[in-house]
Symmetry: D2
Subunit: 350 residues, 4 copies
């Protein structure tokens, strides 16, 4: 019963096997391995984007920061939701990599950016010319930090508003696969067809050991991206092990299967909690994260039984009135078992 | 016959097995895994440094840059050899992470810093007060980029000169183990006992998949280092797989065995080449890298037979006079076989 | 009738004369001039701070950015009002000089920071350890961008809350003198006695040609400040001309006389407008800036007569219904004449 | 007898008068003053460059750093002489403004860059692709830090070599006028006709209070330059006083007259010293700086008589053998009198 984060979970066996196979050969380092050639081709195929530039890095923070740094100048803004990972959970990495771009914080339900909030922020940017920071990039996240998924229409509307203002769009897809299988659309529809220019295509939270791809549908900045990656210490020498992970991920739709599984088990958990008396849902369970509330006595019992998860917000206390509703974040992953969820639900129901 | 780099070689089987074991458990992420607790203890034990702060990152460039950034201010210098990896092969990563420190380039044979060159550079620093960049840190590398190894006395002499000027010392130990087994001293003797404050303790070039430890013998800057690591995108979420690699590395002296093996096979290769008529050695074969020259006809034959390595310098040509001596860099690793070396030597001898 | 900004006005004659006198001598450059020695002493005397470090720069943006950069690390926050000059009007200079600190935006009436808003923001900072940016400095501005002046009690309350959290306080005093004469307190009471650590002590908006002092009541960071100033290109070679301006400013209370005059004429303008039918005041006229609204027909008439000022907000239009109230920002300076104000009032009253 | 630096000298009276006149009017701030419009036109005329972008800043370090930052990326080099002001005397300002570009140091007599040294450095840049910093800009200085002046042919040869490698050229003209009057060519011939793209056109060392123009013959980066200037705190609010200085400077060839005078008086000083027994010249006196050696007894006498200048190198001592030759740097300025020089020469001759 480990629900702290999707990155607490294991690596998929297919991925481990691919790394083992990569260990049997010598290979050029720093991304010049033959597996990476196949990965590049495969991602271009999956995204229907034959000209896309494709790179691998080991962390989501690196993926997001390098992507953004190649899209904005230091004196430009990055528009994002006020609860975006790049704003709240990366210790200022975007500011570091961009050379000090200003993150402009937007509002919206379930950590999805409200179109009007974005438009207002853009209208407010750069009104006094050189005295102000200038319009930069928009960064959206799906599935969001609150477990919600943008519809293709919502992404398109934001991208259209961005395009009108010459603002390129970045998509933080740390949970890209979870969002995609929820929507049932194609990767292209969720990205470049909607107007997205650069994608952080996550793998680590969905069964890889530590690989995120960055996909630049506009390859003009590809060389700059490569230099920034190297200069940021994010060009991996034994790169073939990253390539191997990503290749396994994209083989036989493994990435979709894993995401589908983690979404389904989250659905089950979410519904199970909601069935309890007094239970609440803070955000829709669109992906693999459940934000829900139930009685304190249930929290006490399940934590005593060894469940790991975070209160949401953090500062709630196990001590107190049994009947009070405490809220929590529960993250499922591809390996979360039905047994785990059944146990969890049984215990909190007492 | 793959001698391009130690990072072209495979991961040691013990390391793979350790990662597999780490895959069987759930674990806290971002370095809070129990394996990391054991790694920290083990490194403190190995280095006889009970208070040292210990961190893992995935690349040598990250290790060096983060270490240096926590040791110097942006307006201070980093003294290093003009052929240091941080100067020549990291695309300016030290400048990026430090916020623009100036690398002051020193001379010395075999990429080992000459004491007088360092002392002269220090004497020249900051003579006109606020108009100049100020004295920062010294970074030395062992084994050097030319495959040479500093004696403990040489390290001590540089550290003493640094200490006199309040200059902290960083050791880039991408090939730490190779240097250590050559010297036959203890890790403590090669580092903090000689005056080194921070070490990049390499693993990737010596049989790991991608892990370098940074060891801060002065833990005052530990929290700053942690923040810089996160902000640089170098805090790995599924950190237990890094911990597992490092734990295996330090178990049963695996790290020393692997380094000993790669040094020995390099010795054999070096001696074999030198035995040829006209052959030359550019630098001493102290560690696992051979810088040697032999007849062009031998290069032609061995490359035709599938050997991979780089000319050194790069701009030499296979076409030309058979008897001319062309020089090359040959890097061995723990998995380099006697058969590979025997074949190589046989072919270049014709 | 020129009310666009206080920096559209002239330099006080006493200041010009001081620069002329400075032109009669040779002098050491870069701040080593004897006039600067006197300025340093005088500022320490005026602020009752015998140990303060005192530096001059040519712009308010330099003063603020260098002050903040010497107070925070790149991974720390700068708390400020969302309408602070450092947030809105410096093109991201604080981010540039600090190496990418995140400005955390606070609320409050008349651009004065609300204590609760600050406390809430501090409570929200760094809750998840290394994943978050860390608590840095608080920057307050008086007189504010909306022409309001903090009471000593308000400054003290903010500083107390900051101190509880080890947060040093910066005061942007671009209009320091205007605030001071309004309060009638001593410079010490408005700054270090209330808990302020570093002050941007403005002169340019109050009759100088281009000089701001930065006063560090905590001189521990003085040398760092000097290096940052030089590295930022803000150490002026012919520094004696800056020193001369500041000396004149502080001689015979010139700075207080000039500020008193500009406050008084702003009061007169403010009251005159408010006396008109339908007129409104957006913010209190605490200093030398009037934020007021009056009938569009009055705007039309006075702009036709040659008055210079900005609508506030900018996007109001001269065309339209005569009776609609349009709002404007009117900045007085020491040289604004009664005649100018009388004319202005007469015309807008029709 | 004040020869420490040209910036120890006074401001030309014509310049002071122009500032006084500027004080009689109200004016838009931040460079939107009508005087700046005239300055821009005049500089374009003087340089025969109708499309050039022209900006004013208050310091040479700002001019150089902002110019370079708009010409190179953080991962690119700045090639310069190892004794260039940007390398030795700006506390790392170029690294700060460029975001960490690496200065590659070149050799050459009298601080003039040797063509072969530049070509070799360029050939060595970026040989290993993404692992290396990439080719950036070339920065040359005339008159050099050693008082030498490049011929137009020398500038052209460097620019040609740069152009072949797509390397834009910056000219640090802190003593532009001194170089120009020595050559007797046109400003266009010394700059864009020779291949220079951006010029720091100095005024401060030649009779202004504190103004340098930056001239971008390629205006494509003009808006970026403006943003960098503002973000660097170098956009002066009461800009008209800078404009007024520069206008006076360019009126009736004042700038050329002042430079001619300081060159001539330096010639006289140089020749006078060389006529002494044992005297030496370290560098040619091409501009307004004399690098010369004479007997210690002469140094002792003249310093006792109140002369101000620096030993070159700094670490020479007044105590010691009378007959030993000590070397010094003597900087003349437009206001250096014949009487000063005559006295100086008389005293050192005893």
């Amino acid at each position: 019963m480990w629900f702290t984060s999707d990155n607490a979970g294991p690596v998929a066996p297919e991925v481990f096997e691919a790394m083992s196979r990569a260990n049997e050969i010598y290979s050029s380092s720093y991304g010049a391995d033959p597996i990476m050639d196949r990965v590049r081709d495969r991602i271009r195929e999956v995204f229907e984007a034959p000209d896309a530039a494709v790179y691998l890095v080991a962390t989501g923070t690196a993926a997001n920061s390098l992507a953004l740094a190649s899209m904005v100048q230091p004196w430009q803004t990055v528009y994002c939701h006020r609860h975006a990972h790049i704003q709240e959970d990366e210790c200022g990495a975007p500011e570091f990599f961009t050379g000090g771009s200003k993150l402009v914080l937007l509002d919206g339900k379930d950590a999805k950016i409200d179109l009007a909030s974005f438009q207002q922020a853009v209208a407010n940017t750069g009104q006094v010319g050189v005295h102000n920071v200038q319009k930069g990039a928009l960064s959206i996240t799906t599935a969001t930090e609150n477990g919600a998924v943008y519809t293709v229409e919502e992404i398109t509307a934001l991208c259209d508003a961005a395009k009108t203002n010459d603002i390129p769009v970045h998509l933080d897809g740390a949970r890209f696969a979870n969002a995609l299988v929820r929507l049932g659309c194609t990767p292209a529809e969720m990205t470049w067809k909607a107007g997205v220019e650069t994608v952080s295509f996550g793998g680590t939270k969905n069964g890889l050991m530590g690989v995120e791809a960055v996909i630049l549908f506009n390859p003009d900045r590809a060389w700059e991206f490569e230099l920034r990656r190297k200069r940021g210490g994010h060009l991996i020498s034994k790169h073939r092990y990253l390539s191997a992970q990503m290749e396994a991920y994209l083989t036989d739709d493994l990435w979709l299967k894993l995401a589908k599984r983690s979404n389904e088990i989250a659905d089950k958990l979410s519904k199970g909690i909601l069935a309890l008396p007094g239970a609440t849902l803070l955000h829709p369970t669109d992906a693999n994260i459940v934000f829900a509330g139930w009685r304190r006595s249930g929290h006490r019992a399940v934590q005593k039984a060894g469940a790991h998860y975070y209160f949401w917000p953090f500062d709630q206390m196990l001590e107190g009135d049994d009947d009070e509703i405490l809220t929590a974040r529960l993250v499922c992953n591809w390996a979360t078992t039905d047994e785990d969820v059944d146990n969890f639900l049984r215990i909190i129901a007492e």
